[in-house]
Structure formats: structure tokens, C-alpha cells
Amino acid sequence: MDHAAPLLEARNISKSFGPVGVLHAVSFDVRHGEVHALVGENGAGKSTLMNIVSGVVQPDAGELIFEGRPVRFEGPRDAQALGVGFVHQELALVPQLSVAENVFLGRYPAARGFVNYGDMRRRAHELLAGLGHDLDPKRPVADLSLAERQLVEIARAVAFDCRLIIMDEPTAPLSDHDAQALFRSMRLLRDRGVGLIYISHRLKEIFEISDRVTVLRDGRHVLTQPTAEVTQDEMVRAMIGREMEARLHTASTGSVRPGEALRIEGGINLCVHQGEIVGLAGLAGAGRTRLLEWLFGAAEAHPRSQCGEARTVWVNGQLANRRSPLDAVRNRLALVPDDRKSKGLVLGASVFQNIALAGGHGRFWIRRSQEEQVARRWATTLRIKAAGLSQPVVHLSGGNQQKVVLAKWLVAEARIFLLDDPTRGIDVGAKAEIYDMIRKLAGEGAAVLMASSELEELMGVADRIVVMHRGRIAGELPRAEATEEKIMHLATGGAD
């Protein structure tokens, strides 16, 4: 193998969609055995560049050089044939089939038309072991956790003999703990000479896993450097072109008031005051989502939480009905769900229709002009970037979609906000705007219970951090005392 030449090099790539220039003469390269992080705000051109590298999109200008030879990809198959694999954010697995069947999907080891299941399982097991994991190849993918499914996707890329694997925000849905397991697999692949392109919004992880980093902004190449030689401040500044760090880590607003907005008693004891932001930490599967959805009347209590004990909820000092989400909305609760596309938005409907979704209960007639006025006001306040209120939300960026979900609850005049990973998969600029909004709400006396997989985010925003472990509350840390170590200690079941 010729390690002198880069594995893949993209030279002066330009691409426009209609009149919109998405990439302007961007150059980029990946070497054998390196993890190359690609960062930038949403809309910076990362996805388009990766779609060009994987043959999904053809560039208008520029060239691709694979192991020293110029190549032209007419479609994704050409890229696959050379060994370019893409692990997508939305996993492309068949849930009903087994791990082994998914790994070899479309290329089952077969003799004379009959699939050799024994051979297939053995090879799948070997591949997974090579990634540092012991996963039963016979298990249906539907039974796997998100982290395990991702592993299956990666194993599939390896089974294809991929020498370049593109990973688009693989850790977005993972807890820090699961992300570590993923990084172990990535390091094993790197040591075997595989080149990895890693797209993420989590800067901390980029410093942890990547060898080099490239920053794109507005379709232009800003910097490529060994990760060890860049500071986080430099990287953030390169991404957004202005100082943002301060906004991510301002001091607590100090808006906590004595009044209790939300109190849970029973198997779980938790209280959120008016004007307070309480962070909810925990590993994936610790029951954060379950707790928030249960509070909102949308899910059963966690099976592993202390059963038998009735859990009661008080809202503003009154015992609350929680038979359905409608009860919660009437109590002026709001839920920003973990998955905005499947739970938060009607994707095909317009910005206005989505914002109006929760506000009309109890009225019979639609008051169109009044509702539009309110929706427009919030869309402006939240700086939702859209062509108009009638634009379908499916065409908005992740950050703007999340702002639409928030606007829906602001229109409904919610006072208690249950936020489940509200900045997942959102670029740095939109994140800061959402933090600002959360603080502003708390400043006006709203209560916020916010779950997040990113400890840094919780430590930056919350007044107090509650840590969950296996469906229960493992401990609580005031903002001043919270450190990553203490939180992880509680989250992994360490004694208080």
C-alpha cells in the first residue's frame, strides 16, 4: 500500500444547486489510517462535500483523486466499488432481519442460490469482534440499542472492504458512554489503515478522536490542521466567524424563585422551581426520555423504576391529571421530544401549521389572522429562517425545525418546559440561540427540565443537575459542584 499518497483527495470542488453556490473550490484530503473530522455549521457544505466523495452527487468543477489516480463517480456504486462506505445518520438497516443478515444485506454468502447461514453468521461474528464487540449475529436488529445498530452499519461497511468510511454525526443520538465504545471501534479501524471522515457537532469528541480537522464555512474551506494544534476557541471561531464561546458559558441567570412549578413524589422525587433550569443527565437507556414523556402523560412509567409506589405529580402546587398529553397541555406543560422529526413536527405541513399545533385546544373555530400574527411574532423572536410561514418544515435546517417546535409551545403559552436533548444534531449558532431562549424563559419565571446527552451543555445551562441511573435518580449536583467526573460517577451507578 502506498502510504505516501493520500487515500482520497478532493481538489477545488465546486457545486451549485440552481443559483445557490454550496461549495466554492473546496480542497480536502484523507490519509490512510487517520480520522479526519469535518466540522461546520449546518449549511456549511459538509453534507454536499460528502455526497460528492461518496458519488451521490456529481461536482460542477474540481477533481477527485483516489490513491493517486483521478476518478469519476457517476453514482454511489462507483464509489462503493473503490471502497468508499457511508454510515448515515438515519440508519439504513432492516429491523426484522438478524445482525448477520443486515451485515451482508444484498451480498449473502451463497452457493447455487442457497444462502450459507452458518458461514454468514461466523463471518459476521468475526467482523464484529474485529470492531471490539461481541454481538450475537442471530439477534434481530429490532432488539438492538441505537449504539449496537450503528456498530452493525459499520460492520457492513467493513464487510464491503471499505477503505474509506464516512460517518455523518454517528454520536448525535448516543450517550457519552456509548460514544466511547464507538470510538474504540473507530480506533481499531484506523489502526488497520482505514481512513475515516467524521462529521460531528460535538467539539469535545473531535478533539478526542480525530487526527486532523477541516472546517468549512458557507461552502468555503477555512482551515485544515492536526487537531492537536488547534484550540476549541479557534475551531469555534473558524466555524462561525465570530466569538461564540462566551454565549455558551454564561453564568447562571439566578432567576430561581421560591415557587414550586413541578414536583414528583414516589419512586422518583424531583422538584423544579419557577425560573429554574434543572438538567437531567444519564447514560442512554437511563430513563430520561421515559421520565419526560411520562410526566407529559405520553408514556408508561419506567419498568425498572421502583414499581408499586404510586408516583404523583404536582403542578404549581396542585395534584395534576396526567391521563394524556392534552391534560399536560392544559396544565401548561410543554414537551420538546428527543426526535423532532418523528415526534415533534408534522414534516409535510407548513411552519404556521406546526406552530399552531398545540395552541388551539379548547376553541372550536380557527382564528386565522390572530394566530398568524402570534406565530409570526414568535418566528421573528426566535429568528426562524424560512421563506415564509407557509414553507413546509421539512425543508428547514435542524436548528430551525427545533425552533419551530419551541415556537409551538410558546404560542400555547406553556410555563413548564420538558426539553429532551433539545440541541441534538443542531449547529453551534442555533444551539447558542436555543440556550439564550431557554435562559430567557427561565428569566421570565418558566420552569425548565432539560435532558441532554452532552454533559458540557448541561453544565453550561442548568442551575442544578439531576443524574439518572437505570430509571431512578442517582443523585443531584448543584451547578457550582458539577464536574464531568462526578456526573459520570453517578450515571454509571457509583454510590453517592
Partner: protein
């Protein structure tokens, strides 16, 4: 800085583009072209008498399709409407034959349709059946069977003339069933577009999970939706029994498929969240015009069925192809 939502945007410009105009008026354009072609092929087609006749014949399907539309907007399907129509048709005739006044008989038939429809919705939501196909397929068989049982399999003919008005009568030159369709259409239009419940129904079709988590009582809305579908099927039964002067147990056989076809030709999507009253009316008229025109051209009933099958697939294909083109242009 890219533009945020403009405070004074007023009317959104997107509403005026050619693509969206085509989307809005595509089915209507299809209807006009069809009428033009049939008018050229047969000099009897474009006469006032014949066109009024087409409207009268399309009325039953139009009524049933309004209910079907609401169901399809929620990404559902109601296979039982044809059979509910048959059962209500027999019931109303039997009641009148046993001396019940026409008005009370009609109310009873409408109530039966409403209840059977609501039952579809209850079975779907409370038994957590996996897809509306299942409860409505069951109801389709049960209602048809009951229609045959209570009628003994024979038509019940010679109905009071005051009852027959809604199927066979006219107000001036306007056929009474057309007036009924207009009233129902106006009510459904207002319901779907001006009330929060109507808005809920589109949201449920677009994403039931998001609708639920926004506080919309999804189960209650679905029960209402299927009840409305049962109600319009019963209304169709009144018109059909009046026009045919008979309550016959095989009334409305295949009616569920005609109504689904009208709704889909009218631009609604099986995926839910999309569909309009005006489109559905045009869809029902396209079906009616086709049947009438092919009759005038002496095309046999067998070949008519073949043509209608092709039109259904072609209409949806044109819609999809146009959407694809629009999506590409928009990127």
C-alpha cells in the same frame, strides 16, 4: 444573513407559482379536458339535460367520497362505506314500508350510519388494531351480510314520494341530490378548514405521534372521522334509494372503491395530511363523466371498468410525476 420570516410578508408568494397552481387546479383541468373530448366525440354529451343527469348520477359517490376524504386525510381507509350504504338503504325502505314516517326513517338510517362508522373508529383505536383496513374490512362484510339478512335478499320497492324527492326530485332545474351534495360539501369544507378539529385531522394524518404529543386527542378525533364517513355513506343511501325507488341489499357494492378513487383522483394522498373537498368533488365528477360519456359512446360496461381502472392509476401517476418535477426544480 439569510432572511428570517418577514414580519410583513402578508400573502406568501409561493401560493402563486405555476407549479402550485397546477397542483391546485390539476384535477379540474383534467375534468375540463375530459368534458371537451367527450363533447367532441358525442353531440349528446354537452347538453344541459345530460350534464344535470351526470351531476345527479355522481351525487351518491360524491357524498360517500366526502366521508372517505376525511378518513384518507388521517392516512386511513374506510372499506365499509359501500356496505353501510347498502344496509342503510334497506333499513330506510323497510322502516317506511312498516309505516314509520319518512322523516323518522331517514333520521334512523343516518344514525345507523353514524353509529357503525363510530364503531369502526372505536375498533381501530381502542382495540389497537394495526390498520384501519382491518376493522373496516370486517364491517364491510358484517354490514353487507346484515343488509341481506333483514331484506331477505330482495329489493324493497315503491317508496313514498316525499322520500323520493332527495333522489329523484328537483328544485327548479337543479336536481335535489345536487343541492344535498352542495350542503354537505359546504359543511365539510368549513369543518376541515375553519375549525380546530379539522386542523387536528390534517395534523394526525401528517404525523400522529407529533399530533398526540401536541395535546391533540387522536383517538377521539379518529372515532369522529370514521363516524362522519358512516354518516355520509348513509346520506348516499337516502339519495340512491330515492332515485331507484327501492331499498336493495346490493346497493353500494364496490362503492368503497369508487369513493377511494374519487378522493385519490382529487389529489389526496394515501400517506395522509393532504386532500381537499373541492378536489374530491372534481374526482367524483371525473368518475361520473367518464361513465356517462362512455355510455353515450356505446362502450360496454365491461370496457368502462377497464378505462376507469387505467384513469385511476394514470391520475395518481401524473400527480406523482408533477411533484417529482417540482421537487427537482425547487432544489
Amino acid at each position: 444573513m439569510s432572511t428570517t420570516v418577514q414580519p410583513a410578508a402578508g400573502k406568501d408568494r409561493a401560493g402563486l407559482s405555476l407549479a402550485s397552481l397546477l397542483r391546485k387546479f390539476g384535477p379540474l383541468l383534467g375534468l375540463l379536458i375530459l368534458c371537451g373530448a367527450l363533447g367532441a366525440a358525442s353531440d349528446r354529451f354537452l347538453t344541459a339535460d345530460n350534464l344535470l343527469n351526470v351531476c345527479r348520477q355522481s351525487a351518491v359517490n360524491a357524498l360517500v367520497s366526502l366521508g372517505q376524504l376525511v378518513v384518507i386525510v388521517t392516512a386511513g381507509i374506510d372499506l365499509s362505506v359501500g356496505s353501510i350504504l347498502g344496509l342503510c338503504c334497506v333499513l330506510v325502505a323497510l322502516l317506511m314500508h312498516s309505516g314509520v314516517p319518512p322523516l323518522i326513517s331517514v333520521v334512523a338510517a343516518l344514525a345507523l350510519g353514524l353509529v357503525l362508522g363510530a364503531l369502526n373508529g372505536i375498533l381501530l383505536t381502542k382495540l389497537h388494531l394495526p390498520h384501519p383496513f382491518i376493522p373496516t374490512l370486517g364491517m364491510m362484510n358484517v354490514a353487507r351480510g346484515l343488509a341481506l339478512v333483514i331484506s331477505g335478499g330482495f329489493p324493497i320497492s315503491e317508496l313514498p314520494s316525499s322520500f323520493r324527492f332527495w333522489g329523484a326530485g328537483s328544485l327548479g332545474w337543479i336536481p335535489a341530490p345536487v343541492i344535498l351534495v352542495a350542503l354537505f360539501s359546504a359543511a365539510f369544507y368549513v369543518f376541515l378548514n375553519r375549525t380546530t378539529v379539522g386542523r387536528d385531522i390534517y395534523a394526525i394524518g401528517g404525523n400522529p405521534q407529533a399530533a398526540r404529543l401536541s395535546g391533540i386527542p387522536v383517538d377521539a378525533r379518529l372515532i369522529l372521522v370514521y363516524a362522519l364517513s358512516g354518516l355520509t355513506a348513509a346520506a348516499g343511501a337516502i339519495v340512491l334509494a330515492g332515485r331507484m325507488n327501492s331499498g336493495f341489499p346490493l346497493a353500494g357494492v364496490g362503492g368503497e372503491l369508487d369513493s377511494i378513487a374519487a378522493v385519490i383522483i382529487g389529489g389526496a394522498s394515501f400517506l395522509g395530511g393532504v386532500g381537499t373537498v373541492s378536489g374530491t368533488l372534481v374526482g367524483a365528477l371525473i368518475m361520473g363523466v367518464l361513465r356517462n360519456g362512455l355510455n353515450l359512446l356505446n362502450v360496454s360496461a365491461a370496457w368502462q371498468t377497464v378505462v376507469i381502472g387505467i384513469v385511476i392509476v394514470a391520475a395518481v401517476w401524473v400527480d406523482i410525476a408533477r411533484q417529482r418535477a417540482a421537487d427537482k426544480g425547487g432544489r
